[in-house]
């Protein structure tokens, strides 16, 4: 039974969401609210069950130091009180401090030193094409950095270099845009392949008929 009903519900929700392509309507609104509601509900469930697993259970078993992060977490809610607002900043400072500390300390070896090391030309074992690619990447990197150098006016050779940097960025953004177009298309394709199957393809016919009926009705009125 569920093998028949579940695809129908999923198919109906997909078509309700897609109905916005035709025009704003109540079916789209229902699908939107359901998605937000289910998403929030599920995230809340996962958050609470995780809290139970990694905080409450160990606390009951005697790890009393876990009270400290709990207090810091609760302090975040003082943001709603003008009198105790300052306490929420302590919690924020702890979160931001730990986050930045972990990120920055690892960013230097990985994102700065690691990337600069990668810029160095390793002639051994490189094919001609790889070498050309490497040289282009190095020039593009230096040119892009020079584009964001604002302490020197972009005139003369630095202006030329900055222009190459701008072209490099445009090429990179174009490539990213093309890939984004592709990635987004695949979501539609998966839904289309799903809707083409029985029994949900029946809903597709119903949806088309509903749109045709609405167009006819609106033209008449």
């Amino acid at each position: 039974m569920s093998e028949f009903v579940t695809p129908l519900i999923v198919g109906a929700l997909t078509l309700m969401a897609w109905s916005l392509l035709y025009r704003e309507n109540v079916f789209y609104r229902i699908a939107e609210v359901l998605m937000v509601g289910f998403g929030m509900g599920y995230t809340l469930y996962i958050s609470l069950s995780t809290l139970n697993r990694i905080w409450l259970q160990p606390l009951i078993q005697g790890k009393f130091w876990l009270i400290i992060p709990a207090i810091l977490g609760l302090l975040l809610y003082t943001i709603y009180s003008k009198k105790y607002l300052f306490l929420s900043r302590w919690a924020m400072a702890a979160i931001a401090g730990a986050g930045s500390g972990y990120a920055v300390s690892r960013a230097i070896p990985v994102m700065i030193i690691g990337q600069i090391e990668g810029l160095g030309v390793k002639f051994s074992g490189l094919s001609t094409i790889d070498l050309i690619n490497h040289i282009i990447a190095t020039i593009a990197c230096i040119a892009t950095v020079s584009y964001f150098t604002f302490t020197i006016e972009h005139k003369g050779w630095i202006g030329g270099l900055a222009r190459i940097g701008r072209w490099s960025m445009m090429l990179a953004f174009g490539s990213t845009f093309g890939a984004t177009l592709y990635a987004n298309q695949i979501f539609t394709i998966e839904r289309a392949a799903f809707l083409a199957k029985y029994p949900q393809n029946v809903l597709l016919i119903v949806a088309v008929l509903l749109v045709v009926f609405d167009v006819y009705k609106r033209r008449k009125s």
Binding site: I54, I95, R106, V110, T176, T180, A183, Q185, A192
Partner: protein, 278 residues
């Protein structure tokens, strides 16, 4: 190309710029549904990084420890989930020991779904694989896990991990032979926390962020990657299966070709308008 297509004298690019949205929607819908009803079988060239990923997993020995993190939501299933399912299947075929974690709250449920869909090849839960669950805090959570991978006292299902044989197979993060993560966003946090700590790091990523991730590939910090559902289709070819991703590629090729054609048409119209205005 310059022929007039309407009785009121409107030429084709004026017509296109006036009704572009509706026309594009209709054509995309047609091209999307067409292969679903009638597969075309457009050839699919292999991306070198898909091969690299495949052979990295193929070279694993039975019992090698692999860490996997599912860091995406169900909405991104088609782009990342299918590739992860194919890779998981390959890992079970190779009899690797798999430890599953997640830095996204939705990750464990996706892992649970995949484990229910693939052939586990007789792998035993707790001995050959384990789902440890969600680690909150994102990058702070990653750092915590890297410093102590045995941080979990209970798994995703609430079972104590202390008696699980797989949990005794590792003490530090470098005990893992390979780390595979799947995410739809910028990979910097994963690279910052895991790079240099695990021998081989592989990303299962959305196609749109691949160009931005290539610097990590070039430096070797990221060993290889799978680019979304396209990568999944290529991976299925290497595994010799005709899976879900392969079925989507006809429609993907058609719609991307449409995107290229529309870009050329739009630029031609724009340039013509610009030059004509001088």
């Amino acid at each position: 190309m310059n022929g007039r297509i309407r009785g009121d004298g409107m030429d084709w690019h004026t017509f296109m710029s006036k009704y572009d949205r509706q026309i594009i929607f209709l054509v995309v819908l047609f091209l999307t549904f067409l292969p679903a009803f009638r597969p075309i079988g457009i050839p699919l060239p292999q991306f070198y990084l898909t091969n690299k990923t495949y052979y990295a997993i193929e070279s694993l020995k039975p019992g090698d420890l692999v860490l996997i993190s599912f860091d995406f939501t169900p909405g991104e299933w088609v782009e990342l989930g299918i590739a992860m399912r194919d890779i998981m299947q390959h890992l079970f075929i190779k009899r690797a020991r798999i430890v599953i974690i997640a830095f996204d709250p939705n990750g464990p449920a996706i892992a649970h779904r995949i484990l229910g869909e693939i052939d586990l090849k007789g792998a035993v839960y707790g001995t050959d694989y384990v789902v440890l669950g969600y680690i909150p805090g994102f990058e702070t959570g990653m750092a915590a896990f890297v410093s102590n991978p045995k941080m979990f006292e209970r798994d995703y299902y609430g079972n104590p991990t202390v008696n699980m044989p797989i949990m005794n197979a590792f003490n530090t993060i470098s005990d893992f032979k390979m780390y595979i993560f799947a995410c739809l966003t910028w990979v910097d946090p994963w690279m910052r926390q895991f790079s240099g700590k695990i021998e081989t790091i592989i990303g299962v990523l959305s196609s749109d962020i691949v160009p931005q991730v290539m610097p990590y590939i070039n430096t070797g910090q990221l060993y290889s990657l799978i680019r979304g559902s396209r990568g999944a289709a290529e991976y299925e070819q290497l595994m010799g299966i005709k899976g879900e991703a392969t079925a989507f590629m006809d429609a993907a090729s058609l719609t991307v070709s449409l995107g290229v054609i529309l870009t050329i048409v739009a630029n031609y119209g724009y340039l013509k308008k610009k030059l004509g205005g001088r």
